[in-house]
């Protein structure tokens, strides 16, 4: 379970995240929506321990910068992070070694699912941006995290990879993994979200549970809230 309590992040005078609290339960898919500059990537970076903040972030009860928390969490950044001089298979070997995991074939299966198994010998720098993104996803999931945080994971992916990633989301959910996904592609998450948090100006302006009753669509909800927010600001 991911628990965020009263998190505030300031850059000088700019408040990027203002007293944010929410939680993502085991086996739940939480979506972060919001216009550019709303503070989505900032809260994600705070969660995965890249930024300092005021407040509390707990990963399965442990502070987010503890070794236990780091073992449980996965982070898929917006820009793919791969090493130029490592081959695809070496990326996964590195992750297994760094996380002290045995090779049980799981990382190879991930590569197959994302159609990367024939690219195992390619260097990171030889991959296209989309392939780098797929490798980045495989690396993040290779240590079987209990909480996975995705920052715009679908950007740059081909249709097959998008479909596969959605399937992975559902499988992880069924296995009890907590998922937090930040995205602008609202229609891509329409059919599997459990809870959505809409951010504007560093704050949560709405949180809604998915009751599967076919009511207001996520897109309509997003526009009604953000347009209202803009009008109020004017």
């Amino acid at each position: 379970m991911l628990r965020i309590e009263g998190v505030t992040k300031k850059y000088g005078k700019l408040i990027a995240n203002d007293d944010i609290s929410f939680q993502v339960d085991d086996g739940q898919i939480a979506i972060l929506l919001g216009p550019n500059g709303a503070g989505k990537s900032t809260i994600i970076k705070c969660i995965v321990g890249l930024l300092r903040f005021q407040g509390l972030i707990a990963i399965n009860g442990a502070p987010n910068t503890s070794e236990q928390a780091k073992r449980d969490i996965a982070y898929i950044p917006e820009a793919p992070a791969v090493y130029d001089l490592l081959t695809v298979s070496e990326h996964l070997e590195f992750i297994r070694r760094a996380y002290r995991m045995e090779d049980d074939g799981y990382s190879d299966r991930l590569l197959e699912r994302f159609e990367m198994d024939d690219k195992k010998g390619k260097l990171g720098k030889e991959l296209s941006k989309g392939m780098q993104q797929k490798l980045s996803i495989c690396c993040a999931l290779a240590h079987k995290p209990k909480i996975a945080v995705f920052d715009e994971p679908l950007v740059g992916l081909d249709p097959h990879a998008i479909k596969e990633l959605k399937t992975v989301f559902r499988e992880l959910k069924n296995e009890g993994t907590s998922l937090l996904i930040s995205t602008h592609m609202i229609d891509s998450v329409e059919d599997y979200w459990d809870v959505v948090n809409i951010m504007m100006n560093g704050r949560f302006v709405a949180t809604k549970q998915n009751r599967m009753d076919g009511g207001q669509s996520l897109e309509d909800l997003f526009f009604s809230i953000t347009e209202r927010g803009k009008e109020a600001a004017q």
Partner: protein
């Protein structure tokens, strides 16, 4: 309305200046920098009073030509291999498709490159003290040396770009170009050896220096492209021979014009050739920002043996770095370090009487410039190192371990030959290796402090300056300790063993303390402004 390129240049300069003025920290750095330069200027003048007889300025021409030739070849090869990186990705995306004439865009790139080269030459200002002390060089002449250095870097890039435009699609032609450049340097070197060696008696290496100076100040030798011309201009200035100045300046200008004409006249648009280079340099910029990793991954990387093979937890980082080093061709020693190693060994022939400690001091001074954080700074730009569930200090130590392996190799290939040449005792040679390793760790620690405190500073000159400042501060305990042991007269095994071991122990302790205090660098990416 001003032209777009003028507007772009002026606005960028204006905004850079504003950014400096807005940041109090930058202003303070600037003031300290000027202060340090003033101190060095005075110390240089004091030195001059101590040395009644200055060395021949012609000797300096020899040094300048050697240094500029090495820099030209290094920069040329780097730029030629990957395409010259005169343009950024923003230029590629915004300027190249715009209706501005490609010739204008080219000159905009060249102009900016010249500016960058001058900034890179600023570090030469710190050489004022000894240049003034030994050769009586004053600030005006030093500025000329800096301009000469900038011109060397600029011409190397410009030549590489021109030749790249003509040969980028022809591997055979590329090989010919590379061999021609190396061949030219080899011809120069062999001619120098052929001219100097006959007068050598095999004993007194000092007699080689005037002979070498005589050879390299010969007007025909100074006709050697670019570095020779620049050295020739400088020789003309210091000897008041204005014919030399005009002659070599004319050669330089004609060559630059020839390159520009060749690019403009090229049937192929140079845009296509620089796009890849711009992408390569942009990826390097993004990855390291202001880091000191001098690596741009080339087009053709030999993969070789696949797999890390070893490592669990933090140690996996070390084995990954070793693998990356092998692929980047930096397995044991960088080009820059190799040059310093050769200089140190060569110097030992001339400094036999001064003993191994004199060479050690000189090599340590050069080590300041060659110690780099290796893959560490690059590692900081990726999220993995922060996310790996291991103690931060352990991750930090394993991240820098790769550079220690390089340092050990470097120390061995310097001090074993140097020790044999100067006839040092075995314990002294071993202690020099240990002391060099301790300095490598100390300089690495200084780099870590820099990352921790000034990770976000973009100015190369400021980063260099702070590196020196931090290095001096943390080296003081070791130097003081060694001096105290030296004064006490206590010895162990040989004359310098105890002095070097005391210095090494102090360096080790200080470095570990610094690393411990900076361990949280890997706790949050934010701490080093990544």
């Amino acid at each position: 309305m001003k032209g777009a390129l003028t507007y772009l240049t002026v606005t960028k300069l204006k905004n850079q200046l504003k950014a400096i003025l807005k940041s109090p920290a930058h202003l303070i750095y600037g003031i300290i920098l000027i202060g340090l330069l003033v101190v060095m200027a005075f110390s240089g003048n004091e030195m001059q009073q101590d040395i009644s007889e200055l060395r021949s300025r012609q000797e300096l021409i020899f040094i300048i030509m050697g240094f500029f030739t090495i820099m030209f070849v290094m920069v040329f090869m780097q730029a030629y291999q990957n395409g010259s990186s005169m343009f950024t990705l923003s230029d590629v995306n915004l300027l190249f498709p715009s209706p501005i004439r490609s010739t204008k865009v080219l000159f905009y790139g060249l102009f900016r490159q010249l500016g960058t080269s001058i900034v890179l030459g600023v570090f030469l200002l710190f050489q004022y003290s000894w240049l003034n002390g030994l050769y009586g060089i004053h600030y005006v002449e030093l500025v000329l040396i800096i301009l000469g250095y900038a011109m060397t870097i600029f011409m190397a890039q410009f030549t590489a770009m021109t030749l790249f435009v003509y040969t980028s699609n022809d591997e055979k032609a590329q090989k010919i170009v590379r061999f021609s450049v190396y061949g030219l340097v080899l011809v120069l070197l062999l001619s120098a050896i052929a001219s100097i060696l006959p007068s050598f008696d095999g004993k007194d290496f000092m007699q080689l220096l005037p002979k070498a100076t005589e050879f390299f100040t010969n007007p025909i030798v100074l006709a050697f492209p670019v570095s020779g011309w620049i050295a020739g201009i400088f020789l003309g200035i210091v000897t008041d021979n204005y014919l030399f100045v005009v002659l070599y300046a004319l050669l330089l200008i004609l060559f630059a014009v020839l390159l520009a004409v060749l690019i403009i006249r090229s049937k192929r648009n140079f845009y296509e050739d620089v796009i890849q280079a711009a992408e390569t340099s942009q990826s390097a910029i993004n990855a390291k920002k202001e880091g000191q990793v001098g690596e741009v991954v080339g087009k053709n990387v030999k993969v070789g043996k696949v797999g890390l093979g070893k490592g669990r937890g933090s140690s996996a980082i070390f084995y990954k770095h070793m693998l990356e080093n092998r692929r980047s061709g930096l397995f044991l020693i960088s080009n820059m370090s190799l040059i310093f190693v050769v200089c140190s060994v060569a110097a030992s022939f001339f400094m036999k009487d001064a003993g191994i400690i004199a060479i050690f001091s000189m090599a340590t001074y050069m080590q300041i410039f060659s110690v780099m954080l290796g893959r560490f700074t690059r590692e900081l730009s990726k999220p993995f190192i922060y996310l790996i569930p291991e103690p931060p200090l352990k991750k930090l130590l394993y991240s820098i371990a790769e550079s220690m392996v390089t340092s050990l190799f470097e120390a061995l290939i310097i001090f074993i030959p140097v020790g044999l040449i100067v006839g040092a005792d075995a314990p002294d040679i071993i202690c020099c290796v240990i002391a060099r390793m301790s300095f490598a760790l100390l300089f690495t620690a200084a780099n870590i402090v820099l990352e921790r405190v000034f990770g976000g500073v973009r100015s190369k000159a400021l980063v260099m300056f702070f590196f020196f400042l931090v290095t001096i501060l943390i080296a003081i305990p070791g130097i003081v300790g060694a001096a105290l042991v030296g004064v006490s007269g206590i010895t162990l095994l040989s004359e310098y063993t105890l002095i070097l071991l005391t210095m090494s122990a102090a360096n080790l302790l200080i470095s570990l303390l610094v690393l411990y205090l900076c361990r949280n660098l890997l706790q949050y990416a934010e701490l080093n402004n990544k």
